[in-house]
Symmetry: C2
Subunit: 140 residues, 2 copies
DNA sequence: ATTGCGAATACAAACGGTTGCAATTAACTA
DNA sequence: TAGTTAATTGCAACCGTTTGTATTCGCAAT
């Protein structure tokens, strides 16, 4: 995602407005050192700018997703998490027994992606996949 | 999922109660010829038994999932869909452009499952996967 | 048939997230 | 610098789903 500075530049370049809300949401995601939820972003932003609304957070996240600046991951917690897209695409193995989350390099899905392309002519978007199951500690 | 009769038997065998709500929810899923949503199940049940509540539908679906009698699929419509588990495990390729849904045989994911097991000792539960992307008609 | 008990229910409120719309405002023009 | 206008926002209502809780009810024992 680079520096917030770059992103702000990119936004206005593409004709999007640079609003204080967007800047604060951007820096909340940037400053998070792991995956952050919309609610957490909102809490951080509202502390400095109380009039902001949660729907603005969701709409901004929607925009940033569309521009490939953030990646969304559903880890099955009943809430989705976000992180800067340039921190690398990785996937998650989520243990349904103990809740452990194991990072999975995106290369693990390269052959699946190729198969889908070859056999189904389908361009799979595998940037934010969570696979559920049982980890080594939870199966006997 | 077999006959509703069998399932009802299985439920009471396992110590679960056989209630009219559960029977009606079961037959709604059974009679659907494709994937059915909780809302659609509810609509069908409420027509014959107006006092039933939507939360009962969700809790029953939760139970049936746990007992491996129904499978849940999230096709990204903002609502989850259900179908009898014994109708076969297949996956879906969902086109984010035109909304097309392409069925994908579960065998397409066998090699991924093996890789995860071998390299991560992770038993992946790949029964209800939706993969998003672009179909052949929507990419140039 | 009646009782007792715990499982299942209806109901209401809450959850995370989305949407329609009127008011605000960033960024262009003059 | 002020004026214009379409993008963006706040707000409120809504969506599908989940959860807490008091009440109901299936079912085994009497």
């Amino acid at each position: 995602m680079g520096q917030p500075r770059d992103i702000i530049h990119k936004l206005s370049e593409l004709g999007y407005r640079v609003t204080p809300q967007r800047m604060m949401i951007l820096s909340a995601i940037e400053n998070s050192d792991s995956h952050i939820s919309a609610e957490e972003i909102y809490a951080q932003v509202v502390a400095k700018y109380p009039r902001v609304n949660i729907s603005t957070v969701y709409r901004t996240l929607e925009l940033l997703k569309r521009l490939d600046l953030v990646t969304e991951t559903d880890l099955g917690e009943g809430r989705v998490r976000y992180h800067p897209a340039d921190r690398g695409h990785h996937h998650h193995l989520v243990c349904q027994e103990c809740g452990a989350i194991i990072d999975l390099d995106e290369s693990a899905l390269f052959s699946l992606r190729d198969t889908l392309l070859r056999e189904y002519k389908f361009v799979a978007d595998l940037r934010h996949l969570a696979i559920f199951g049982r980890c080594i500690n939870c199966r006997q």
